[in-house]
Symmetry: C2
Subunit: 212 residues, 2 copies
């Protein structure tokens, strides 16, 4: 019944996390449906039966890969939430997202989006799964911003949900841009502009927008 440390039998010739990282990269670059089993086994350096014995199926491997991606590549989001002010949280979130989207040691963009925004009907579960992951991040940010409103860090008229959605939308848009080749500097210039909205909402000149 004890799991994890199988002692008897032939030991594995690969490290599970290592090959999982390879799978992350392939899914990241080509999406769920754009990634074939052959591409996976080729990149992971293992063969098909090993993959299935370890991960169960292509879809389960993808779920594992996405979980590992969030742990290893989106950790910055949790770090940003710890900062003391809403402005700092949002700036850190967007800045480190841009840095992650344009780092050279992995595919550009974001697995949450490139993994499969739209899929064939039989793979609809995959896009729903990814959307749920993004929604979870947005809710965490929303809670943090709601706290900022309660603490008086943001004015009471600010809607934390809308602001969280705006920040996530900007990040997702940057992911789309990064996937298409935008540079780090270009995206930071866009962050500059997004932050002006946050600054305006943070009380300095609230209501400056001309919209009714």
């Amino acid at each position: 019944m004890d799991e994890g440390t199988a002692s008897v039998g032939r030991p594995r010739a690969f490290d599970e996390e290592t090959v999982l990282d390879r799978a992350v990269e392939v899914f990241w670059r080509h999406g769920y449906e754009g990634t074939s089993l052959s591409a996976l086994t080729g990149a992971m350096g293992i063969n098909r039966p090993s993959l299935y014995a370890t991960f169960g199926s292509k879809e389960e491997l993808f779920r594992r890969a996405f979980a590992r991606y969030r742990e290893t590549r989106v950790a910055y989001a949790a770090v940003a939430l710890e900062l003391p002010t809403a402005y700092a949280v949002i700036e850190e979130h967007l800045r480190s997202a841009v840095d992650a989207l344009t780092a050279g040691d992995h595919p550009p963009g974001c697995l949450s989006i490139q993994g499969g925004l739209a899929c064939s009907p039989e793979n609809a579960r995959v896009s729903e799964f990814l959307a749920a992951g993004r929604a979870a991040g947005e809710e965490a940010l929303e809670r943090r911003l709601a706290r900022a409103v309660q603490e008086g860090d943001l004015p009471p008229h600010v809607d934390p949900r809308a602001l969280a959605r705006f920040v996530m939308a900007v990040g997702e848009g940057h992911a789309v841009h990064a996937a298409a080749g935008a540079t780090r500097e270009e995206l930071h210039a866009s962050v500059d502009i997004a932050l002006q909205a946050v600054a305006a909402m943070s009380g300095r000149t609230a209501g400056a927008a001309g919209a009714s």
Copy 2:
């Protein structure tokens, strides 16, 4: 040698634009790789040889579908560019984009992104093609905003390229959200926030952001 009006022989039993609109919808909902020939012919109401005789291949059909999508569904972007001020251009662009992203008579989201952000290597041309389409829209907006700077409508320190990129990124983020089920009202609330950045940049309180 005259094209377009084939007079001899059996006439087509379908209208080319009508079946193309059906193809747009299927690609829009399931992406390029998530759409099979069977799904296409089923939705278009024609059979495979008719499709190939008319459109050449799946990829060419997609290109035609994307062109038609831009003509019929993204016409609002060109309309927005005609408005007199940069603020109005941006607001109209984002507002009508949200309305288009959440209209009930077609799939939610945006074909440019759902069509295939990441594809398998053999379909890489498709995602490049879509990215080129998005870049074209961004450049058109950039030119319009550059004109606004020249006219004094935007302050001289505003970078039209960065602002256009920001606006497009927000729109793309909204497309991702819409594909995941965000409502029209939710996205308009995000537009409200984005417009605060534009208002701040438009001269009222430029430099309010604390970022260095």
